[in-house]
C-alpha cells in the first residue's frame, strides 16, 4: 500500500511540468492571497511594534482622570509639585526625583512621499525627559539648550518629513527653530516626535505653567502601586496613574484591530476565489490523467493511493504558492516606512514588519486552500472506473 502510494504520488508530482499552465496559475493565485494577508499583517505588526516598543514597565505616566490621551490632559503646576514628593519614584544621582513634566503641541510637517502637510508632535520635556526613554540615544549633534528655540528631532521624522536636517532652520507655528540634534529611541513612537524644552513650548504656545502629563521613573515596576495609592489618597490630585506600557497598549489597540479586521476578511474572500481556482486546476489535472489512473487501477493499484497522490499534489502546489507569496511580501514590504495618524492626533512613523509568525499563518492558510481545493478532485481520482481505460 505504502509503496503504491509513493509510486503514484511521485508519478503525479513528476508530471506537473506537463500541466504547467494550470499548476502555475494555482501557485500564483495562492501566492497573491498570502501576499495580501501578509501585507496587512506586516502593517499591523509594524505599527504595534512601534507603539508597544515605546512603553516601559518602570515608567509611570500620569494624566488627568478621564482624559484617555495625552493631548486632552491638563495638569497644573501645583499638582506637579505634589507629585515631586510622591513615593515610589527613583532619584537621580544628585538626589532629585526622576520626573518629567511634558506638553506637546501639534505642528505641521511636510511628508516627503506625498508633499502634503501632516501633524507632527512638538514635545516640550523636562530636564529628565530622556531618562524616561531607556533606549534614548543622541545620534547626531547635541541636546537643546533650555530656554532657546532649539530642536532635537527623532530619526523617523527626519526620514519621513522634509527639512529637518541637522543645522536647518525650521518654521513651526509662528516661530523659527534650529535643529541641533537627532535622536533615536530604538524605533519607538518617540522617534516620530520633535523635542524641545518644556518652558519654551509653554512660552511660545501661551500655555502658562500647565502641562499635559507627568512621567516618572519608578524604583521598580511594582512601585507603581505605592504611587497610585498616594495619588488616590491625595484629594488635590485628580489623576490617572498608568504604567507607560499599559498606556501605549491601550492606544495601539484601535489602529491594529482596524487593520486586522480589514486584512483577514479580505484574505479569506480572496482565498475562496483562489480555492475555486485550485479546485478547477486539480480537476483538470485528474481529468487529464483519467486514462493513466484507470490503467493503474486495471493493473492492481487501489483507489486510495490515487486519492493521496492528488491531495499531495494540491498541497504541494499550495505550499509553494504560500512560500512564493511570503517571500515576495518580505522582499517588497519588509521594512518599508509608512506613517499614519495615531491616537495622539499626530503622525506615527512605523516600518512594515513581516514576522515569522505571520509567515507561518500565511502558509497555513495556503495549505488549507490546497487541502480544500484538492479534496473533491482527489475523491474523483480515487473513483475512476476501470472502463475509463478506453476514454480518449
Amino acid at each position: 500500500m505504502l509503496k503504491q502510494t509513493t509510486a503514484v504520488t511521485l508519478l503525479n508530482l513528476r508530471s506537473i511540468p506537463q500541466r504547467w499552465g494550470m499548476s502555475l496559475t494555482t501557485v500564483l493565485s495562492i501566492a497573491l492571497v498570502v501576499g495580501v494577508l501578509l501585507g496587512f499583517m506586516a502593517m499591523a505588526s509594524g505599527f504595534r511594534a512601534t507603539v508597544d516598543g515605546a512603553g516601559s514597565d518602570d515608567v509611570a505616566i500620569m494624566l488627568r482622570g478621564g482624559a484617555m490621551a495625552e493631548m486632552n490632559s491638563n495638569i497644573s503646576r501645583d499638582e506637579v509639585r505634589l507629585l515631586e514628593v510622591a513615593p515610589g519614584i527613583a532619584a537621580s544621582p544628585e538626589g532629585e526625583p526622576l520626573i518629567s513634566s511634558e506638553l506637546y503641541v501639534v505642528a505641521d510637517g511636510i511628508r516627503r512621499a506625498s508633499q502634503t502637510p501632516a501633524n507632527l508632535a512638538l514635545r516640550g520635556l523636562g530636564l529628565h525627559g530622556p531618562d524616561m526613554r531607556p533606549q534614548f540615544d543622541l545620534v547626531e549633534g547635541r541636546m537643546f539648550e533650555p530656554g532657546s528655540a532649539e530642536l532635537v528631532v527623532g530619526e523617523s521624522v527626519q526620514r519621513e518629513f522634509e527639512g529637518f536636517a541637522l543645522g536647518d532652520s525650521v518654521r513651526l507655528g509662528n516661530n523659527n527653530w534650529t535643529v541641533v540634534g537627532v535622536f533615536s529611541t530604538g524605533g519607538s513612537v518617540f522617534d516620530s516626535e520633535i523635542w524641545t524644552e518644556l518652558g519654551v513650548v509653554q512660552n511660545l504656545y501661551q500655555r502658562g505653567s500647565s502641562v499635559q502629563t507627568v512621567r516618572a521613573r519608578l524604583t521598580s515596576p511594582d512601585a507603581i502601586e505605592a504611587l497610585r495609592e498616594y495619588v488616590e489618597n491625595e484629594p488635590r490630585l485628580n489623576l490617572e496613574v498608568l504604567s507607560e506600557r499599559a498606556y501605549f497598549a491601550r492606544s495601539a489597540g484601535g489602529t491594529t484591530n482596524l487593520i486586522m479586521f480589514l486584512g483577514w476578511p479580505l484574505a479569506i474572500a480572496m482565498a475562496i476565489g483562489a480555492l475555486a481556482g485550485a479546485w478547477n486546476a486539480m480537476y483538470a489535472s485528474v481529468d487529464a490523467r483519467t486514462r493513466e489512473l484507470a490503467t493503474l487501477r486495471a493493473i492492481g493499484f487501489g483507489g486510495f493511493p490515487a486519492f493521496i497522490a492528488a491531495m499531495v499534489e494540491a498541497i504541494v502546489l499550495a505550499f509553494f504558492g504560500g512560500l512564493v507569496g511570503a517571500v515576495a511580501t518580505w522582499i517588497l514590504f519588509d521594512g518599508v516606512s509608512a506613517s499614519t495618524l495615531g491616537s495622539g492626533f499626530t503622525q506615527i512613523v512605523f516600518a512594515f514588519a513581516v514576522t515569522p509568525d505571520a509567515v507561518v499563518q500565511g502558509v497555513i492558510l495556503a495549505m488549507i486552500v490546497g487541502f480544500l481545493g484538492g479534496f473533491v478532485p482527489a475523491m474523483r481520482a480515487a473513483r475512476i472506473p476501470l472502463l475509463a481505460v478506453h476514454a480518449d
Binding site: 505641521d108 501632516a118 501633524n119 481556482g277 499614519t340
Partner: protein
C-alpha cells in the same frame, strides 16, 4: 439552435467548472465593490457643497484655537454671507470608548451654512431656541437609540467645567438628516454659548469657522483677504475650501487609496490568471468539435465571436452577482460602522467602472482562446487520434 444557445451550452458543458470560475470572478468583484464603497466613505465631504464653502483654521494647525473676535471680523469681509464658528467637544457617552463626534456651534449660523442638513421645521426652531438643546444626526441617533425629548449627559474628554465636572446635560431637541445621502450624519451639535459659559479653560475660542460666500467665484479673493486680516497676529489663519481641508485631513491617515489599489489589483490578477488559463484549456479540449463546426460551414470569424462571447458571458454572470452582493454587504457594513464612518454605499461611477472591468476581463481572457479556436485547421484537428 442559434449561436447564443451554443455559447451558453458550451459555457456550462462542465457545470462545476463554470460555477467555480464564476465564484472566483464573483469574489473579485465583491472585493472591488466593498473597497470602492469604503473609499467613498473616506472621500465623502470632498465634493458637493464642500467645494464652495470655505473653512478658516489656525495656521499653526487645526487643533490650535482661534479667538472669539474673529467671528465678527470675518463677517465684515466683503462678499461673505454667513460665518459659522465651531469647537471640538470631544464627546463620549457613558464610557470613554463610546466616542460621539460632537461640535459646539452657533446653531443659527451653522444651519444656514449647511443647507444640506434637513430639519423638521418645529425641531429646527426648538434647537435654535433652547440653550441646552442638542441636534443629533440620524446615523448617530440610530446608533444610540436616542429620540427627541430625551435628556443625556454628554462627557467631554477635552473640556472641564469650573465645578470640575466633565459632563454637559443635553436635551435632544432635533434629529437631522441630510438631503441626498451624500453627507455624514454621525455627529451631534450643541449650543456654543451653553458650552462656553461654564468652561474652566479655553473660553472664548473656536477651532474652525465655516464660511459661505455671496458669489463662489470670489472665493479665492475672500480666502486671501481673511488670511491677510490676521497676518502677523498671534493667531494667523489658513482659509481653504472645505473640500480641500477634508481631503488634507484624510491624507493624514496615509495613502489609503494606494493600499486599496494594491488589494484590488491582486484580486484581479488572481482571477485573470485562473479564468485565462481555464478558458484556454476549455477551448483546447474542444478542438475537434470546432473542426466539426467549421466543416459544417461556420466561418472562422463566427467561431472567434462565439468563444469571445462565452468569456464575456462568464465574466458578466460572475461580475454582476459579485457587484450585487457588494452593494448589499456595503449597506450592512455601513449600518454596523455608523459610529465611525459616515454612511456609505456604491455609486453609479463604481458600478459603471465595474462593468467596464467585466468587459475588459471577458475580452482579455477570451481573446487568446478565441484566436486559437479561429485558427483550428480541420484536417489537423480531425486527423488527430
Amino acid at each position: 439552435m442559434n449561436d447564443a444557445t451554443l455559447v451558453r451550452k458550451n459555457l456550462f458543458r462542465k457545470r462545476l467548472r463554470a460555477v467555480l470560475l464564476m465564484i472566483s470572478i464573483l469574489i473579485a468583484f465583491l472585493i472591488y465593490g466593498m473597497l470602492g464603497a469604503m473609499q467613498n466613505a473616506f472621500s465623502m465631504g470632498t465634493e458637493g457643497a464642500a467645494q464652495d464653502r470655505l473653512v478658516t483654521v489656525n495656521r499653526i494647525n487645526f487643533t490650535v484655537a482661534l479667538p472669539y473676535a474673529y467671528w465678527g471680523r470675518i463677517q465684515q469681509v466683503e462678499g461673505v454671507r454667513t460665518v459659522a464658528p465651531a469647537s471640538w467637544f470631544g464627546g463620549y457617552y457613558q464610557e470613554p470608548q463610546n466616542f460621539v463626534q460632537s461640535f459646539a456651534v452657533d446653531p443659527e449660523s451653522y444651519i444656514e451654512a449647511y443647507p444640506e442638513l434637513v430639519f423638521q421645521e418645529d425641531q429646527r426652531l426648538a434647537f435654535i431656541e433652547g440653550r441646552t438643546c442638542a441636534a443629533v444626526g440620524q446615523a448617530l441617533a440610530t446608533q444610540y437609540g436616542w429620540t427627541v425629548g430625551e435628556r443625556i449627559p454628554l462627557m467631554s474628554n477635552i473640556w472641564q467645567q469650573q465645578d470640575g465636572s466633565q459632563a454637559w446635560e443635553l436635551d435632544i431637541c432635533a434629529i437631522f438628516d441630510d438631503a441626498d445621502g451624500t453627507y455624514p450624519t454621525n455627529y451631534l451639535m450643541l449650543h456654543y454659548e451653553y458650552f462656553n459659559e461654564s468652561l474652566l479653560f479655553g473660553r472664548d475660542s473656536f477651532h474652525w469657522i465655516a464660511i459661505t460666500t455671496e458669489d463662489t467665484s470670489q472665493n479665492d479673493r475672500i480666502s486671501r483677504e481673511i488670511d491677510e486680516l490676521f497676518a502677523n497676529s498671534p493667531a494667523e489663519t489658513s482659509t481653504t475650501t472645505e473640500a480641500a481641508f477634508n481631503a488634507a485631513f484624510m491624507e493624514q491617515f496615509g495613502n489609503i487609496g494606494l493600499i486599496l489599489t494594491w488589494v484590488i489589483g491582486a484580486a484581479f490578477a488572481t482571477i485573470l490568471m485562473i479564468v485565462g488559463t481555464t478558458m484556454v484549456m476549455a477551448v483546447n479540449e474542444r478542438t475537434r468539435e470546432i473542426a466539426v463546426l467549421k466543416t459544417l460551414g461556420f466561418t472562422a470569424p463566427r467561431i472567434f465571436r462565439m468563444v469571445l462571447w462565452e468569456a464575456l458571458l462568464l465574466s458578466f454572470i460572475g461580475g454582476l452577482i459579485g457587484l450585487g452582493l457588494a452593494a448589499l454587504a456595503a449597506q450592512g457594513a455601513s449600518a454596523a460602522l455608523a459610529g465611525f464612518l459616515p454612511s456609505f454605499g456604491l455609486t453609479w461611477t463604481n458600478a459603471l467602472t465595474a462593468i467596464a472591468f467585466m468587459v475588459a476581463l471577458g475580452l482579455i481572457t477570451g481573446i487568446l482562446p478565441a484566436w486559437n479556436a479561429m485558427r483550428v485547421r480541420i484536417s489537423e484537428a480531425l486527423g488527430k487520434v
